[in-house]
Each structure stands twice: as C-alpha cells, then as structure tokens.
C-alpha cells in the first residue's frame, strides 16, 4: 500500500481526505488508482499526455520523482507520495 498525501487545495477532489491509500508498484499506478477512486483528480496533476504538470511536483519520500524514474519511479509498500503545487497567490 502506498500513501498519497493530498495538499489542502486538492482535497475537495478526493472527498476531503488528507491522505489516500492505494495499491501501486510505481507512481503511474498510484495516480491511476487515485483517479479510479476519485475520478477527475488526475487532470489536476497531469496533462493530456499523462505527464506531471510542470507547476506541480511529486515527491516519493524525500526525492523529487523528476530526478528518479519520473512516472515509472518504483514504490515500495509504505512509500509516501507528496504533491507540491506551485502556489501562486499572495
């Protein structure tokens, strides 16, 4: 099981949850499982080609997935995904 930590502003797309637990072996499967449970949320994270939007960062543990294997980054049971959006307001 993988834990996806949802930033506050995206929680309305996942039933208000701070974390969503999914079964996944890599980041792509984790996001697809999130979309399966909460349809519509993937479009907030990924573009039409399925890549992570360039103003959003996804961390696996303490590492940015862009510098691992990106969407193919392998996840162990108990891994934690953290989503960090560029927050534009001020």
């Amino acid at each position: 099981m993988v834990v996806i930590k949802i930033p506050a502003s995206l929680r309305k797309f996942v039933g208000g949850n701070e974390r969503v637990d999914v079964d996944a072996a890599n980041v792509r499967e984790a996001i697809d499982a999130l979309e399966g449970a909460h349809p519509g949320v993937k479009a907030k994270l990924c573009d039409d080609a399925g890549n992570v939007r360039r103003f959003i960062n996804i961390y696996a543990g303490d590492e940015d997935i862009r510098f691992l294997e990106n969407m193919d980054t392998a996840l162990d049971a108990g891994s934690e995904l953290q989503i960090i959006p560029a927050i534009a307001g001020g």
């Binding site: 506050a8 960062n57 560029a86 307001g89």
Partner: protein, 295 residues
C-alpha cells in the same frame, strides 16, 4: 544598515513587512501598484476601512513609520516586472516576494541569483501555503522546483479563490523569519528545502529541494553528502571523494557534525581553493557547508 525589499503588499506582504520591522531591520523598500480595497481588510493587516482607495505603499509606509520609529521605510507604487526588477532589487540585502503574480516569483528568483541577493519566496491560496528561501550565490532555487509558472486559468488569486486569513499571517511571518535568518548569520538553516504549510491541519513540513545540475537560474545542486556518521579525517576524505565526482563550477551540499568536522572541513576546502558559499549551523548537532568546486 540592513535593507530588505518586500514585493507585493497583500495578504503575505503585510505580515512579512510587519515581521521584518519587528525583527529590527534598518531599511524597508515596499513595492506594490495597487490601492486598498474593502475585501483586502480581512487579511491585509496594515490597512483600515478609512484607507480604502489609497495606495497600499502609501498607507503601509505611514503605518510602519508610526509603529517603528527607527525604521527607514519607503514605498514605490509600481508593478515589478522583468524591466524594472534589477533597479528595484539592487542594493538590497534580502528580497521577500509576496506577490500574487505567478511570473513575478520567477523574476525575483532569477534576478536575486544574478545580483547575488538572497530571496524568500512565498505563496498562499485557499488552505495551502509555501515558503522557499534561496541563497544569493547558490541553488537550489524556485526554478529547480517548478519549471514554469502555472497557467493563468490555474493561477487563481486569493481575491478570486479565497484564502484562510490566519494562513497568510503564518506564511508572511515565516517569510520574514527566513529573511531575518538569511541576513543575520543563520543562512545555513534557511535554504535547501521548501516549507509547505497545511492550513486545514496546521501542519508545517520541510521537504528537501531536488538535486539538479541543469537549472538555468542557479546552476543547480550537483549532490548532497551526509558525513555526520564520520569523524576527522574521514570527514574530509569523504568530502574530497564526493567533490572529485563533480565538474568545476558545480556545487556540493554537505552536512556534518558540529565541532571538529565543522572547523576542519570548511578550512580544508578553502585551503584547496574552493568557493565555500554557505557555512553554518543547521541545528544544535549539525553543521552545513555548501561548496562550489573550483578546480
């Protein structure tokens, strides 16, 4: 006299400017093009109902001068853009970006690095906040984390999408604290990570910034090295081995124990001609050195 520039005097800029004044900073330059609106007052703590319609820089300058008699504060009623950023930032010891303009954070980030001025970037929207401090001389920076600003339709501003009032105070004051740390000898503890603030649960979390070697703004951070398990001289042996994997011009971020390692490692690096960019305590037990390989 220490000089700070605050860009944007909204939900973040008000508490950030107030926090900098409270820290005892000598000079403040406030930059904002807007006038006070009634809907601002819920979170923009420098303004009152009677100020609606007045220029924010004018009101904020007046309020801060009244409260902090030793503070030299001036305002510029302009929008920061690529054309005037250098002129506004030049001469500052630290710059705090509090705008609601997604492009402005990239401009402040890039010009800060170009001029060698540390910057503190903040953002807040609805229930999420973010703070990131960038050293003036080395990465990682905001552009290492985010490659592009969000598109306009995604970048809804606080006035449209709403923002939790106390979250603005937390994030703005945290920006002021980091800015104070950067100019008062505590830079090692302020940079290298992004802080996320969860306004719903009240959680504040530091996440390390990515290592990257191709950032167009800061050149990136080539590698991190943790030598806290080691004692001298193994600390420096490990450091040299790590430096040898870098190309000249690349930077290495090293964490070591305080005491003997924190005295010896930076001195050895300087003796060998490398640029020590950051050198200071992170906490009671750990010391951080950021070094650029020269030869």
């Amino acid at each position: 006299m220490t000089r700070a520039v605050v860009i944007g005097l909204g939900g973040l800029g008000c508490p950030a400017a107030l926090g900098l004044a409270e820290s005892g900073i000598g000079e403040l330059l406030l930059v904002d093009p807007d006038t006070v609106e009634l809907s601002n007052l819920q979170r923009q703590v420098l303004y009152r109902t009677a100020d609606v319609g007045r220029a924010k820089v004018e009101v904020a300058t007046q309020r801060l001068s009244e409260s902090f008699s030793g503070l030299r504060v001036e305002g510029r009623r302009v929008h920061l853009g690529a054309a005037n950023a250098r002129e506004l930032l030049r001469g500052a010891d630290v710059v705090v970006d509090c705008t609601d303009d997604p492009g402005s954070r990239f401009i402040v980030n890039d010009v800060g690095l170009e001029l060698g001025i540390p910057t503190v970037l903040g953002g807040v929207l609805q229930f999420d906040g973010l703070v990131l401090a960038v050293s003036g001389h080395s990465g990682p920076c905001f552009r290492c984390l985010f490659e592009v600003p969000p598109p306009t339709e995604e970048a809804r501003r606080c006035g449209e999408a709403g923002v939790l009032g106390p979250l603005c105070g937390v994030v703005g004051h945290l920006q002021a604290q980091r800015a104070w740390g950067l100019v008062s000898g505590h830079a090692a503890a302020q940079t290298g990570f992004v802080t996320t603030v969860d306004g719903l649960r009240g959680r504040i979390r530091d996440v390390p910034l990515p290592e990257a070697t191709d950032c167009p703004a800061c050149g990136g951070l080539a590698a991190r090295l943790d030598i806290t398990p080691y004692s001298c001289p193994m600390t420096y042996v490990r450091t040299r081995l790590a430096l040898e994997t870098l190309n000249p011009g690349q930077t290495l971020d090293i964490v070591m124990r305080r005491g003997e390692p924190s005295r010896n490692v930076p001195r050895n690096l300087l003796d060998e001609g490398h640029d020590v960019l950051i050198n200071g305590a992170v906490d009671d037990g750990r010391h951080r050195v950021v070094v650029r390989r020269v030869c």
